[in-house]
């Protein structure tokens, strides 16, 4: 990221603690530019979802709190805003695991995404979502819970677009999807990005994420351990290794570690 194009979304030295006891983020810094996809990679429990919650203001739902750091949108701090205020400011999150409202109809899901907007604007946006995915129009009156996994994810993303967000936060959008659905969802993400919406994509699935993204961050136990342009990360042997975990030559394994630590214990 060059200094000449200031970032749209900027997270600085963010620290998050859950239950006043568990430190989930230990000071992460990342930036999302005005356009394009930024990927946030890392294993389970690394703090990816926590980072998104901190940005969209959902930490209090999980008994978590920010202890230090900044979250800014175009230079304005978001921390004082409640979750719905951040949505109005232009930061919209699509939660992990296709969190559609299963009891509501497809159309109502979209309408709920536009709560508080004028009736006309809502109608137009719903129409545009239907035009994008005619299958949603066909099932507009059905309970959203009856859609297939891929359709639910598409609906969730379209619902997020109802606010015309500046930046869209996607939490593991490919989780549990069939290969065909993964293709559709990644196509949608590319299109959104081309339409000028910045995207922060959280994924375990490194290959898809790095294909879509222009820039990537790797998170481990609450810290950014690696970041760079996506093509560089893709080439990086460490990234493959990080995800596959095939021990590097010369790296100490746990068996040796055990002997080493045992010895230290003996002495102490």
């Amino acid at each position: 990221m060059t200094a000449s194009s200031p970032a749209l979304l900027r997270v600085q030295n963010l620290q998050v603690v859950y239950h006043s006891a568990v430190r989930a983020l230990r000071g992460i810094t990342l930036e999302v530019p005005h356009q394009g996809v930024v990927a946030l990679l890392g294993p389970n429990g690394a703090g990816k979802s926590t980072a998104l919650r901190a940005i969209s203001g959902l930490l209090h739902m999980h008994d978590g709190a920010i202890t230090q750091g900044k979250v800014e949108l175009s230079g304005q701090s978001l921390l004082a805003l409640p979750a719905d205020g951040r949505v109005h400011a232009g930061v919209v999150q699509v939660l992990e695991g296709r969190r559609i409202l299963g009891e509501l109809s497809v159309e109502e899901n979209l309408l709920a995404g536009g709560f508080g907007m004028g009736a006309q604007a809502r109608k137009e946006l719903v129409e545009s979502a239907f035009t994008r995915f005619p299958v949603l129009r066909e099932r507009r009156r059905q309970k959203a819970g009856y859609l297939s996994g891929g359709e639910q994810q598409l609906l969730a993303i379209c619902r997020g677009l109802m606010r015309r967000p500046k930046v869209l936060l996607l939490d593991e959008p490919f989780l549990g999807l069939s290969p065909k659905a993964v293709g559709e969802v990644s196509e949608l993400i590319q299109r959104i990005s081309a339409e000028g919406v910045a995207v922060l994509l959280v994924e375990q699935n490194a290959r898809v994420a790095l294909t879509l993204a222009s820039h990537g961050y790797v998170l481990e136990t609450g810290k950014v351990v690696l970041d760079g342009p996506a093509d560089k990360l893709r080439e990086d042997p460490d990234v493959q290794e990080f995800y596959l975990g095939f021990g590097r030559e010369g790296q100490r394994g746990y068996h040796e570690l055990k002997r080493y630590r045992r010895k230290r214990r003996w002495l102490s």
Binding site: V17, S20, A21, R23, T67
Partner: protein
Amino acid sequence: MPTRPLVIRYEDDLKLFPGLWQRAGVLLTLSITLAYPWLVSTRWLTVGNLGLVAIVGAASLMVLTGFAGQVSLGHAAFLALGAYTVAVLGAKLGWPFWLALPLAGGVSALVGVVIGAFALRLKGLYLAIVTLGLVFLTQHVLLAYPEVTNGLSGTAVPMYWWFRDDAGVAASLSETWVVGGVGFNFERKLYFVFALLAAGTVWLTKNLQRSDSGRAMMAVRDQDLAAEVLGVGTTQAKLQAFGVSSFLAGIAGAMFAFQQQYITVEPPFDLNLSIQYIAMIVLGGVGTVFGAVSGALAFTFLSPLAETVGGALPLVNQLTSAQQATVLLSLVVVLVLVLEPLGLFGVWLRVRRYFQAWPFRY
């Protein structure tokens, strides 16, 4: 804070009062208990008796709700069953109290286990409402058979001492005895009987708390699924909790009947009574026997005090004295729940957590 005494054998760890401080506390409690009837007026002796009844009742609710986590609004029903059992056995059949008392526990425990079996699959709110229904059903049954219970007009609760002697006459416990120049009137006799029963209840529930059976109940309360995977039978643990709790509640109800000497169905055996017992265990802190005892005593002794305070407050003094006590105690309970749900025990945990991590906050 007194430090833990040096423990060399695991047996020592299992003692109820392992340290010097605890033993001193027991001694103090014992002397106060023994001296109390001679230090206070009859009015406060009655309050003391009711406090002892409340200890048994609160400890029994603590077993069900505090240990096993089964929220019950039906405590009044079990108390009523115990009370009416001794009343009927005494008034209709002339049974002495010491024979009727365990039966009161037995009848109540029987109903408790049956209800427990019905309610096994119910959780939280559903259980609360079913137990609330139990209060109404018990009231209905008690009123529906006036030939046994005297219905709405209520029934006397005689308290015989010895099983009929040769002449077929039962000596009543209400006669005053003089032992070595010290007069034991009815209230004082009742006090010592109740003190023994309360101490026994505390001992039993403490034993439950430190034993495997009690731990199994708490496991069901905290994490029922994990408990099952550990080999804890949730059915068994819940039924045991219902059984022990309703047995003791029956005893408490019987004690209450002895104290009142004349009982009716409603009041006192209605939803409000259940709520009062819940207030006791909430005030004391849910989950410990100490909480039940302190909550019960605080509640019974604060009620007369609350009436005094309430009389001095504007608006509140328009209420009846019982309502004044309810208002002030409700206020205390609501504040405790909103600000510190674990009661005083929670404050202690917070302080300790802070110092354990000191000087780091996380």
